[in-house]
């Protein structure tokens, strides 16, 4: 068996986990020390901030607590406003849902450069064929009362 003998008939040889999902528990994630402040800025001011490591000459967006390159702790003075306008670094048209099904309406997603960092988000108010790498875009925020302190407080980015 195994090696000596094998199942050769295609019968139901599978045992499904009882119930939906094998990991029947939720996860909850804090945004962290830097993320908390990053999202606060989006929520309260509709603005995007990063943190700058002077030694490495790099400005992180989203903001970080530390410079991953030199491990300097990024402090009060290192927080910088990067504005709401960025440049498309790359984009893609997503045709599949998270379930792997074909979407009725594909999503236009872009990686948008802010300083030395990037935000990945949906594109809106523009057609697929209009988008190009290097295009200038700006954030379209949700109405302030609807913002909850998360990346979806930005509805989408749109051409400038």
């Amino acid at each position: 068996m195994g090696i000596l003998e094998k199942i050769t008939r295609n019968v139901d040889n599978r045992y499904w986990d009882p119930g939906v999902g094998a990991f029947p528990v939720k996860n909850r994630y804090t945004a962290g020390v830097a993320g908390q402040r990053f999202f606060e800025k989006i929520k309260e001011d509709g603005n995007i901030i990063g943190t700058r490591c002077e030694a490495c000459e790099i400005t992180y967006v989203p903001a970080r607590l530390y410079c991953e390159r030199c491990f300097k702790r990024l402090e009060e003075k290192d927080w910088v406003d990067v504005g709401t306008e960025g440049i498309i670094h790359s984009f893609t048209v997503v045709h599949k849902t998270l379930e792997g099904e074909t979407k009725e309406k594909p999503t236009l997603l872009a990686a948008i450069q802010f300083a030395d960092g990037m935000l990945i988000h949906r594109m809106g108010e523009c057609k697929e064929e209009e988008v190009y790498i290097g295009m200038k875009v700006t954030a379209h925020f949700k109405a302030k009362p609807k913002r909850k302190g998360g990346i979806n407080d930005i509805d989408y980015f749109k051409p400038l």
Binding site: F23, P24, R28
Partner: protein
């Protein structure tokens, strides 16, 4: 065999719910460890990190996610994983990196953020059991501890009160630890009166759920001597995994630890561990485990451990202090990080830098151990000065 030393160590506070992301926790511990030996990230050749199940932090490929927080930017990083034994094993893994001659300086970082699991981390432990032959019974983690504890107690005639002594010892030690999650001393009565969770396990027999991170810096001999005048040498390492058919083993004795400990002692040239070793940091997620592991570590004769504990043999000022850090019971249990915390303790104790917690008598040799999976795996590190 190339000699490897621990040259730096750092910890976060262990807390129930941390604001920091898992990356940020890792950063705090790693940065502190680097600062403790005056190194910068540029000096680091590689990162050996560890973390227990992905389900706690709630991130698939958690090793990748944690890499930058562990100082792994543009470096070789590798995450090792042996369940609860991961913490001490990560140091063994770091030792592999350096002792192999492939790297001179290695960061070892472990992190766990159990509060990311909702409503309680225990729910995820359902998924450690065999998917087909066990999970349908809706087991929880406490079952296996309770089953092992009951068997252990029955075999040697130990009582719940005996077991509680270990909780009291460790929690008292932990009150002095700057990372500790706890403020209050407890008594044997408190343990016995705490609610029964899964007989014989009561609430205070168990270490808490925690968030935290811990890091140490390992260096090859010549580098270590340059970095510090008090390197703490890794004298021996051992690790063993027993069969996954856990119910087919008699649980009263941790034979997986017996073998791992002998492997480490052989490498360290230790013939009489109970006489030669000055500090023990056995893995103590539950109070009985501390005692069970003292036996597996060959530091206490089987069935005589409670007697020795009562006689003060394992107290901070006893012949062989047990968990002077406070252990998981006394400091907290962010799983993998708790294992590295034990190594940090040996580092500070052997260097005489443990402050209020310092064990007397210039200890020279210590052993740390972690345990995990389905009561199945142990990793052991022996350190000396």
């Amino acid at each position: 065999m190339r000699k490897v030393a621990i040259v730096g160590a750092g910890l976060t506070k262990f807390v129930r719910r941390a604001l920091e992301t898992p990356k940020e926790l890792s950063f705090e511990a790693t940065k502190t460890a680097l600062d403790s030996c005056g190194l910068s990230l540029d000096d680091i050749d590689c990162v050996a990190h560890g973390s227990a199940p992905d389900a706690f932090d709630g991130i698939h490929q958690k090793g990748e996610y944690l890499a930058d927080g562990c100082g792994g930017w543009n470096k070789p990083t590798m995450r090792v994983y042996v369940g609860g034994a991961t913490g001490v094993h990560a140091v063994v893994h770091g030792w592999h990196h350096v002792a192999s001659g492939m790297f001179d300086i290695c960061l070892v970082v472990c992190e766990e953020k159990m509060s990311n699991a909702m409503p309680h981390a225990q729910g995820f432990f359902l998924t450690i059991f065999d998917a087909i032959t066990e999970r349908a019974l809706h087991p929880n983690l406490l079952w296996i501890f309770a089953l092992e504890m009951n068997r252990y107690m029955e075999r040697y005639g130990y009582t719940k009160e005996d077991m509680a002594l270990a909780a009291v010892n460790n929690k008292r030690n932990g009150l002095l630890h700057p990372s500790s999650q706890f403020k209050d001393e407890i008594t044997v009565e408190d343990v016995l009166n705490s609610e029964t969770m899964a007989y014989p396990v009561s609430r205070l027999d168990v270490s808490p759920v925690s968030d935290g991170a811990a890091a140490v810096v390992l260096a090859a001999e010549p580098v270590a001597r340059r970095l510090t005048d008090k390197p703490v040498w890794i004298e021996g390492v051992g690790w063993t995994l027993d069969t996954a058919y856990w119910a087919t083993r008699d649980l009263y004795y941790p034979r997986y630890l017996d073998k791992a400990a002998r492997m480490a002692y052989e490498m360290a040239g230790i013939r009489e561990p109970d006489k030669q070793i000055n500090i023990a940091e056995p893995y103590d997620p539950f109070d009985y485990k501390a005692l069970h592991h003292m036996e597996g570590l060959q530091l206490s004769p089987r069935g005589k451990t409670v007697e020795l504990l009562r006689d003060g043999h394992f107290a901070r000022d006893g012949n062989l202090p047990m968990c002077p850090s406070g252990g998981l019971l006394g400091v907290g249990n962010p799983i993998a990080a708790a294992g590295v915390m034990k190594i940090c303790e040996l580092f500070w104790q052997l260097r005489g830098e443990a402050g209020e917690r310092q064990v007397p008598g210039d200890p020279r040799l210590g052993v740390a151990q972690a345990w995990g999976d389905l009561m199945q795996v142990s990793s052991v590190v022996v350190t000396g000065i």
